[in-house]
Symmetry: C2
Subunit: 290 residues, 2 copies
Amino acid sequence: SFGGFNICKVLNENAKHKAIFVHGSFEGSTDDAVVILEKTPFTENTVKGILSSDTDLKLAIHNDIYKTFEAFPKPQENGIKATLIYPATSKHISKYTEQDVYVVRETAEDYRNITLPYIQAEQFSIQWVYNILDKKKEAERIVFEDVDPETGFILLPDMKWDCKQVNDLYLVAICHTRGLRSLRDLTRDHLPLLKNILEKGQNAIKEKYQVPPSKLRIYFHYQPSYYHLHVHFTHIKFDAPGSGVDRAHLIQDVIQNIEINGNFYQEASISFALRENDKLLSKFREAGKA
Amino acid sequence: SFGGFNICKVLNENAKHKAIFVHGSFEGSTDDAVVILEKTPFTENTVKGILSSDTDLKLAIHNDIYKTFEAFPKPQENGIKATLIYPATSKHISKYTEQDVYVVRETAEDYRNITLPYIQAEQFSIQWVYNILDKKKEAERIVFEDVDPETGFILLPDMKWDCKQVNDLYLVAICHTRGLRSLRDLTRDHLPLLKNILEKGQNAIKEKYQVPPSKLRIYFHYQPSYYHLHVHFTHIKFDAPGSGVDRAHLIQDVIQNIEINGNFYQEASISFALRENDKLLSKFREAGKA
């Protein structure tokens, strides 16, 4: 039980998703603890119990046909999820601490002078991507493959998707061609690759999941989380993380921009958000650009 | 109380935001009722009560330093919000019923042949916008005004923002010039207007709320919810509704696109999502384009 638990600090909270992250400790121990509390989704079963005479109601507002209440269901109808990390390290505490976010508008020059040297110096490992492309890992998860070395790709479910329902469908297409880091490397030469991923990715998803193109949001991330070109396919009704205008770029818009100007992504400015602890943000700051 | 309440149908649910929408009725009545249940955000006070010996815990997973529990707090620490609409009309029921969403990619030709005639035929009333611009309404809410008839605008908090904390800051800039319906009407002639809104809007928000430009997401909606040109200013940490890549267009990107091609928005294809009951979707369907 949480008897003897003392709250040291609320590290973060999310009012929209009804979650809170707390740093604390247990009486008689000097170890740190991190507790994450999350309200749980309603289910048809719990709703039946809640909409009964067991629930105490306190009227808040009454206006015409509209009433709002504070409602207090019985505990067993209204469980929450608790996660305890104990003993917790300072890394856990830092991981769950709210971080400031900054918008950066990267010019073409900023990309060449700041971002590209940063990507090259960090040498992020993408061995795990090559393991997928070489079928050394996750081969059984592949939904579709086009083996063409120039325009081909592998399509597979994203790790975040449990594949149980299509409401939150999330797949990723990873291109076979190596050396394309991001949007910034795309030119007119890559139009056949982009159009192939768009068309065959849509077809494969329609065939395998019966989800037609009109239900799909198909986009790149910039900045991406790894620098080997890949495309996100998510269900339009799923409010997918990273589908906001500050990170996502629809593949159809990317194709259109390159058709207007073959060097669009070598010349354009692009906005994105970076968290306080992102090394790339420090690089922009050192250069006096953030 | 909800004694005697019978559930007829779950109209919709939102697992991410922990809300559910239920159609039902009370015993002895033939009237319809709609009930909306929402879990509430945690507060520092309720967390203190929850992280105590009062809360029953049921261990779910134990792996090394990580444990997860189902937790059952006392009712008064774990209230939910209930909204009752009673008697409810069929319009209420339809409003809260889950709707299918479709992605449309509108070409320039589709805009001229389908969307523009639809906007003109519907003659959506924007009298309420003119009331703001003429200071007949909401004058006390104005945060900043530039009175120039060509490049000027009024900046005021969006109705969705309670103005209590800047974490979910949401303001709207409404341009003084009349007749600009949306993105689609913007050309090189409007660059001074766009740059003025961007610069003076940022400055006014910095002065009034101490929120600098690096914390702002500034964008148009397409389709907008009303056809008089306006710009959304939201806090980058706020996952604002309508800030997804399928509806939002950063004003900096709009300026850049028009600088590359003065007629960009008269020539480009633009993607957006429409709900099943949107009349514009029917128009696209009638034209065989959705």
